[in-house]
């Protein structure tokens, strides 16, 4: 027990833990209080609409962690993670549909779209979703199961690199087409929406929104710690080693298939969790979530923030989605161009993302400060020297 605690404590330095606690407290206590206590419209008041928006961003943050685990650490670029997110969302959406009861437009016990299709009874695969626990379990199990089966065959066949990325795109596209069909039984084009309540609480009540925000924030914090635990373990070092020299891993007696599969299914599990938390906050889930472009966007968050750092992708998810929220209101036509430009720009000029940029800048700064300046003016040495200091490749040697 003591050993466990110790190994968890060693995930971060003291400063790292302080930063983690400070951010967690701000998110979990500070922001909600700023929303609830000051009078609405006051200068300190956090507008109500920001609460579900931030809650949504936290879900994206979990997805970014999941993407980083498999792409940043194992070097496997998935362009189909949207499908795991959406499946988690659909599982939760099905429960929310069943929780509407007879308050739908047609006053039927069946979801509205089934009445519209003239279905007389609930299909077998909708059974059980009346129970929250069952839906929650399925939100995790279905994406994980799909990922396991898909990953097993793909990794066993040693499909790598761009080929793997392409079939993950095909996977999410195929699933999107499947879910678009009305007869598949998930509301077709319109998806699942018009939710009323979750566990008896009205989804329109502000208190419910704050609660969902808090649950999402907690899920994000725990997901972060779990990912940090994995990547700090010997398992994590093996994952990165598979990325860098898979044959050496094999000839050291490890089966790379098991390791890739572990990271891949854990990644899908986190996406399922994120999707399940996302749907009650946005009030809808439809096949649009499985669009190939959605999955590509997830990869962009990670690339922008900085692969293989966990913190970077979180930052990337927040920044890109923040920018998206602003741009799609102010200048909607430009958003996709901006996103594409961002991806190309980051790939060309910031291979280690924003975090890598901060890192290099920090190194330059530290080195400039360490360097003994001209004797007569020890304070002036920061400025010109900094731009001349060469950067070490990868900033790795220390």
């Amino acid at each position: 027990m003591h050993g466990r605690l110790e190994s968890i404590a060693s995930l971060h330095t003291r400063r790292g833990w302080l930063a983690f606690l400070a951010i967690t407290l701000t998110v979990m206590v500070g922001l909600p209080l700023l929303n609830l206590l000051p009078p609405a419209g006051g200068r300190l008041h956090l507008p109500d609409f920001l609460i579900p928006l931030l809650g949504k961003f936290f879900c994206y943050g979990i997805v970014a962690l999941a993407m980083d685990l498999i792409w940043g650490y194992v070097g496997v670029l998935s362009l189909g993670h949207g499908v795991f997110f959406a499946l988690g969302g659909y599982a939760m959406g099905m429960h929310l549909m069943r929780s509407i009861g007879t308050e739908g437009v047609y006053r039927s016990k069946l979801p509205d779209f089934m009445v519209f299709l003239d279905w007389k009874e609930l299909p077998w695969y909708w059974q059980g979703f009346d129970h929250f626990w069952f839906a929650a379990l399925m939100a995790l199990l279905v994406p994980t199961g799909l990922a396991y089966v898909f990953g097993f065959f793909a990794f066993r066949s040693r499909i790598r690199g761009v080929y793997f990325s392409i079939i993950t795109q095909a996977l999410t596209f195929a699933m999107m087409l499947l879910f678009f069909r009305n007869n598949t039984g998930f509301g077709g084009n319109n998806g699942l929406t018009d939710f009323k309540r979750l566990l008896g609480f009205s989804l329109h009540a502000h208190s419910t929104k704050v609660s969902l925000y808090l649950v999402s924030g907690a899920a994000l914090a725990l997901s972060y710690l779990a990912c940090r635990f994995v990547v700090s373990s010997k398992l994590g070092r093996l994952l990165a080693a598979i990325r860098d020299a898979e044959s050496r891993i094999m000839f050291s007696g490890y089966n790379p298939l098991d390791y890739k599969l572990f990271a891949w299914t854990l990644s899908a599990l986190l996406c399922g969790l994120a999707g399940a938390l996302y749907v009650p906050q946005v009030g809808i889930i439809n096949p649009g979530e499985m669009q190939p472009s959605n999955s590509i966007e997830m990869a962009i968050w990670v690339a922008v923030g900085g692969r293989g750092t966990l913190v970077g992708p979180l930052l990337g998810a927040l920044l890109v989605n923040g920018a998206k929220s602003v741009f799609t209101v102010v200048y909607p036509e430009a958003w996709l161009f901006l996103l594409g430009g961002l991806f190309i720009g980051v790939t060309l000029f910031l291979p280690r993302g924003l975090l890598g940029l901060f890192d290099s800048a920090g190194q330059v700064w530290r080195r400039a400060r360490k360097r003994p300046g001209p004797a007569h003016n020890p304070r002036s040495d920061d400025e010109p020297a900094a731009t001349l200091t060469p950067m070490t490749p990868d900033g790795a040697a220390e």
């Binding site: 373990s233 010997k234 070092r237 860098d244 044959s247 050496r248 094999m250 007696g253 040697a397």
Partner: protein, 275 residues
């Protein structure tokens, strides 16, 4: 179906001894032979990379394999380590482990280590972490999630680092090592893996004179404890370490014997000098 042909060299024992399960136990070397390669043929798109090759490595032996480009040296290594499956023939580790049925990582677990031609280390891990990965501890996912090194394992890594002269660089990132140091690190990773049989592909390629000498010493000191098979182009190096040399040509053994015997063999001279 096993061990009916090829009666000539050392016997691998009766068929009842031959267990070819996927979970490999210890290699059984009661007959003094650790590696049996019998009648192995491999062809790629009609090109015969190996052509009825026979090779026997004795337990504890240090063997050098030489041969011109395209003689099948690398393909032979690939067949032994499971990367390439032979079209026909048998490959046994000891008399009990059928290597043609095991995957690469199982062959490594059974006790065969391989050093690649191009040094293959984990460039973004520290020297110490490279060794940690090679350490023969639990290799399954659940073993590694909670694995922590104990004191004796750390000591073991440090001792191995001392042997390969990298103790002072244990925290350096492996990608920043010199070419020779990377070669040594890879050899160190193999040593700590404690294989019964070590396959070493061109260990001194790109090494300085001094590094080459140290490598020769190291490999020679391994013989006895481990069986070592070295593929090398550098004739001086081979002369220095080899007790027995096998010359490959066009996918088959052309000559075998001491370096002197081999050098004076007219067929070898023709292959090496005649063309």
């Amino acid at each position: 179906m096993i061990a009916q042909s090829n009666p000539s060299p050392p016997p691998r024992g009766s068929a009842s001894h031959v267990v070819a399960r996927s979970s490999a136990g210890d290699a059984d070397t009661r007959h003094g032979v650790i590696l049996y390669v019998e009648n192995v043929s491999v062809s790629f798109d009609g090109f015969k990379a190996l052509n009825g090759l026979n090779l026997y490595i004795e337990d504890g032996e240090l063997r050098c394999i030489i041969g011109p480009n395209g003689a099948g040296k690398s393909t032979l290594m690939d067949v032994i380590t499971g990367k390439t499956r032979p079209d026909s023939g048998q490959v046994f580790f000891g008399q009990n482990i059928d290597l043609t049925r095991l995957s690469e990582f199982r062959i490594a677990q059974a006790g065969i280590g391989r050093k690649f031609q191009r040094p293959t280390v984990f460039p973004r891990h520290s020297v110490f972490e490279n060794m940690e990965i090679a350490l023969p501890t639990g290799k399954r996912v659940r073993d590694t999630l909670f694995a922590r090194l104990d004191g004796s394992q750390r000591d073991r890594i440090d001792r191995a680092l001392e042997v390969i002269g990298l103790l002072g660089k244990r925290h350096q990132v492996a990608g920043m090592l010199s070419h020779g140091e990377k070669q040594w690190l890879e050899i160190g990773m193999l040593l700590i893996q404690e294989p019964r049989l070590l396959l070493v592909d061109e260990p001194v390629a790109g090494m300085s004179q001094q590094e080459t000498e140290r490598t020769a010493e190291l490999l020679a000191s391994l013989a006895g404890k481990h069986s070592v098979v070295v593929v090398e182009h550098d004739m001086d190096f081979v002369r220095r370490i080899a007790r027995k040399v096998t010359v490959l040509h066009e996918g088959a053994v052309l000559a075998e014997g001491s370096m002197e015997q081999v050098q004076n063999d007219p067929r070898v001279i023709e292959v090496y000098l005649g063309a």
